[in-house]
Symmetry: C2
Subunit: 599 residues, 2 copies
């Protein structure tokens, strides 16, 4: 692997595309690690420390943070994976499904304004799919023993061998969501053996928000570290919004096709049909959606199990399917047509995210019979999907009090044969609306430590409203904390190094390094500046909490400095002797514990 840095720190790029007042320093610069071939350039963040060393961190922000790349939201990102996909020779272009007005929710025009700009960046595209209908998935390649370029790319990001990635995917313990129609995405892998990933949800709704805002939220979320983004748009312009998001997204995009299918029925669940649903899945697969939440585990017989719950069914998809099952008194069309669905997904390499439509919506309902009955069905569907060569994740709760979290993840891992668990939170209490990023961040860290592969973020607006830009950032940062805390607890190689680098900077009063290594350098710097705004304070040998006299870090540092006990290779006894010797020197030197501040 070779190293290829985009530029020196002196030329640092803007934090995000457009609208932010132009370039400004962000504490890190874009770098690339090159794999076994020149077109395999893996992005990283490099934090240049004041002593000249670099700390290398995982980067999800895409070409937007590379000042040598010119991005244009109207043209979309460069199709990074296009040649790899084409070279495999198992897919072909075709005419694709014709675009229909109802794709953008325009079936009933009454009371609605014109829909937003065009079909998407650069107009209509010709989609790809499997040449002969057989699976073209990363799972299929992995099983054949083939290490794809995508697998190597992900391996370099994770600092593991490509063979490890292949093995985990082949075993169904990991997924690499990479629709052949989303060549813009930078490959990443989701599995418990790898770094814990974070998903951010975006999406307009019938109530508010626009296409531009959703694209903006996507780039903003990845800027702060979102590994994937789900577009949960439900209002009009859903097709167009998704097209713009996909063409501009450097991370895999997930959706819940059921939402759009329901739009096509004018919102009447009982009018949903397998045909409408299948058409929507194909529509989205052709656009390039990388993974789809499918609530095929909500069976007719499960619905009565929810009737005496505290909060019934809280998953949108789950409640739509429950309503359909009840209205028709038939088994779910998703369950009945699951094998056909597998064949479609396999032809585009869309990854299943088997939805937990019956997840608990309150801690009172956690780990109940409804939830676990559905989980057993998901275990069955997981096996079917794998038999069809489709990559599969399993979605998880929801609201779960701390003492029930481990049971939950252990059971999922057992029933679903270690398929990656993808959990929403879980929220560990219901009493703090407005702070559910925190109630759920607690549960997220725990469940990730115990085996969840990807965490779906929760923002402060959960249960109350739609997240704005600040909420998206708060949600992502909170979940990056949970994910990283879990990486540390799991002993992931590399995770500890980041903490160590920051702790070293803290102990050595290298404030700028401390800020730049922070998950959110802007906030760390701003908080410090509130108390001690003057520039010299950033190099002062005391902390802003305690003032010059009381800073314990400073006292402790003085001890280490003066008594020399911190040298490598010193035994405790030698250190003690050294201390005594130094102690006498210390007394002789006037017993001054504190260095002058100007030092």
């Amino acid at each position: 692997m070779t190293v290829d840095d985009a530029r020196t720190p002196a030329q640092e790029p803007s934090t995000r595309p457009g609208g932010d007042g132009g370039p400004r320093p962000i504490g890190w610069h874009k770098g690339y690690l090159t794999g076994s071939r020149p077109d395999l350039r893996v992005p990283v963040r490099r934090v240049r420390l004041t002593d000249g060393r670099d700390v290398t961190l995982y980067d999800t922000s895409g070409p937007y943070t590379d000042p040598t790349v010119t991005t244009d939201v109207r043209r979309g990102l460069p199709p990074l994976r296009q040649d790899w996909i084409t070279a495999r020779g198992d897919t072909e272009e075709y005419a694709g499904r014709p675009r229909r007005p109802e794709d953008d929710g325009l079936r009933t025009a009454a009371g609605r304004g014109p829909h937003l700009a065009g079909p998407g960046p650069e107009g209509p595209r010709r989609p790809r799919r499997s040449r002969d209908g057989s699976p073209v998935t990363q799972l299929t390649h992995a099983r054949r023993g083939e290490i794809t370029a995508e697998m190597e790319f992900a391996a370099v990001r994770e600092d593991v061998s490509p063979e490890t990635v292949r093995e985990e995917i082949a075993a169904g313990r990991a997924v690499l969501p990479a629709n052949v129609n989303h060549p813009e995405s930078e490959p990443m892998v989701i599995g418990k053996r790898f770094l814990v990933k974070v998903n951010a949800n975006i999406g307009n709704s019938a109530v508010t928000s626009s296409v531009e805002e959703e694209v903006e939220k996507m780039t903003w979320a990845t800027r702060w570290g979102a590994d994937t983004v789900m577009d949960l748009s439900t209002g009009r312009d859903v097709h167009t919004t998704r097209e713009w998001v996909l063409r501009n997204s450097p991370v895999p995009i997930g959706t819940v096709p059921l939402y759009q299918a329901l739009e096509k029925t004018g919102g009447r669940a009982e009018e949903l049909t397998w045909e409408i649903y299948r058409d929507t899945v194909i529509e989205q697969a052709e656009q390039g959606v990388d993974y789809m939440t499918v609530h095929a585990g909500v069976l007719l017989r499960h619905v009565p199990l929810t009737a005496r719950r505290k909060t019934g069914i809280v998953s949108r998809g789950g409640s739509i399917m429950a309503a359909w099952c009840l209205a028709h008194h038939q088994e779910s069309f998703l369950y009945e047509h699951f094998e056909e669905l597998c064949e479609i997904l396999a032809a585009y390499d869309v990854t299943f995210s088997l939805g937990d439509g019956l997840r608990p919506g309150s801690v009172a309902d956690a780990n109940d019979e409804a939830q676990f009955a559905e989980l057993r069905t998901l275990g069955e569907l997981n096996r079917v999907a794998k038999a069809h060569g489709v990559q599969t994740m399993i979605e998880g709760p929801g609201h779960v009090p701390m003492h029930k979290i481990k049971e939950n993840v252990d059971l999922q891992q057992e029933i679903c044969e270690d398929a990656p668990f993808y959990t929403l939170g879980p929220l560990t209490t219901d009493v703090a609306p407005g702070y559910d990023h925190i109630t759920s961040g607690i549960g997220a860290a725990m469940i990730a430590w115990w085996g969840t592969a990807m965490l779906c973020y929760v923002t402060p607006k959960e249960h109350l409203g739609l997240p704005d830009r600040d909420d998206v950032k708060t949600g992502v940062i909170t979940y990056k904390i949970a994910a990283h805390a879990a990486d540390l607890a799991k002993g992931h190689p590399g995770a500890q190094e980041w903490d160590d680098a920051l702790s070293d900077a803290r102990f050595e009063f290298r404030w700028e390094d401390q800020f730049n290594l922070a998950l959110d350098p802007d906030t760390a710097r701003a908080f410090h500046d509130e108390t001690l705004p003057a520039e010299p304070a950033k190099t002062a040998h005391f902390c802003s909490m305690c003032g010059p006299k009381f800073c314990s870090m400073k006292i402790s540092h003085d001890i280490t400095e003066r008594f020399g006990a911190g040298a490598e290779g010193t035994t405790a006894e030698e250190a003690a002797e050294g201390m005594l010797r130094k102690s006498r020197e210390f007394a002789a030197g006037g017993n001054r514990v504190y260095l002058p501040i100007a030092d």
Copy 2:
């Protein structure tokens, strides 16, 4: 127990004393539960639901939220416990230690302005102490089988029997911090068998902040649920600040006397003596400090164990004592004079909080030999303190990755014979300065579930600066979440009821009840109003996240309503039959899943 409500919701009081634009609705009103005697009135928060029922919650806000009480910061709070203390007959008034200029850091006047207003509310007071030098502590009473008024008060708050409180205190598994010179405080109990408590730190420093700000922060912190407050002031006016805080505080106040003692030496650790320290402890005990952090476990022989740490010694008290030990090359004067210290604390009923001066300051240093060596010393000191009748808590870390938390609390409980554990966080990663309320909230919830009795909050400014009012609120709310999540996980009676009440309100679209039951009603309401500001939206049968068509709560509610499967006492089979019957009615009724919004 009888019930005595201060007023109806229509006359709700202001959220906090002064400076906030006057009274406004806060979603709850003050109530009182009366114990076995008329002067034993225990405050509670009552949330009046829209259906007329009341939900009763624990209240820490003191008389400030009772509109029938006139408070005046210059006069201090009414001395609630005065008659109880006097009636026990084991204490007496005495002249007290004379006030000295250096108490307020005025030894060196050069470059300093005049100190702030007077000696405190209503001028000098005559302190109380043990009549004959024997212990007057709640522990001593509990061991004698006496249930004090304070114990009963705390029992009513916890909804347990007074005998349970007495038993836990007698066994050393709980403390009831209640200095005889702080009669204003409302008794509360700290122990793993009770609700998890939260401490908020306030305190000015040499760099910034004032007396008024600290009193304001104290009332603000208790308004949001802080169970105790530590005044960590270190600048000038420390004596005066503490006096104002104590006279106005409805919760126990903790301090670290070492900070003030060091001020008296002009900040020179090596000039500290037992005499200066003892004098400071008596000064603070006479003022009414309820618990004191004492770093007596930092021994000379422990210091070399920290020399090769990533972040040395990060506790201020720990680093001061380490510096003293090294400068003199003698054993800690706190350790050497510990028994004398016990006698002083026992004479005022000051509770020990045995400080963990060697707690880790980075996840790399967690659970190391230095930390556990000190813990073993704390176990020894815990036994000495108990032998002297002094109530004792043990302080804990710090920075600990998730997989090392349980080992930490288990060892503390074993070594310290189940003495209440009082932990700072712990922070589960070092990489997120600016968000350490969250990195530590995760660890706090876990450690509390596993046995910590009180959590010391961490604000977003940790490591970066001094918390302001918003930071104090964010820190308290985050830690109330962690504490409550732990109460739920521990199965504390009553904890689940709060979640259930809120989840019921959520499921039934009672938005006002949902806001009023929230840990922070203001934020919940404000977030909802951002998306749907119109008043009718608060009673609308859909959520602001999804819009009218997609709200899963609504769909699920419709299912419960229409299919009647939610009735109490219905078996799953009956429910299924009912569903089929209702399903036919549903079809006959036009298959309408969604009720009109106006419903």
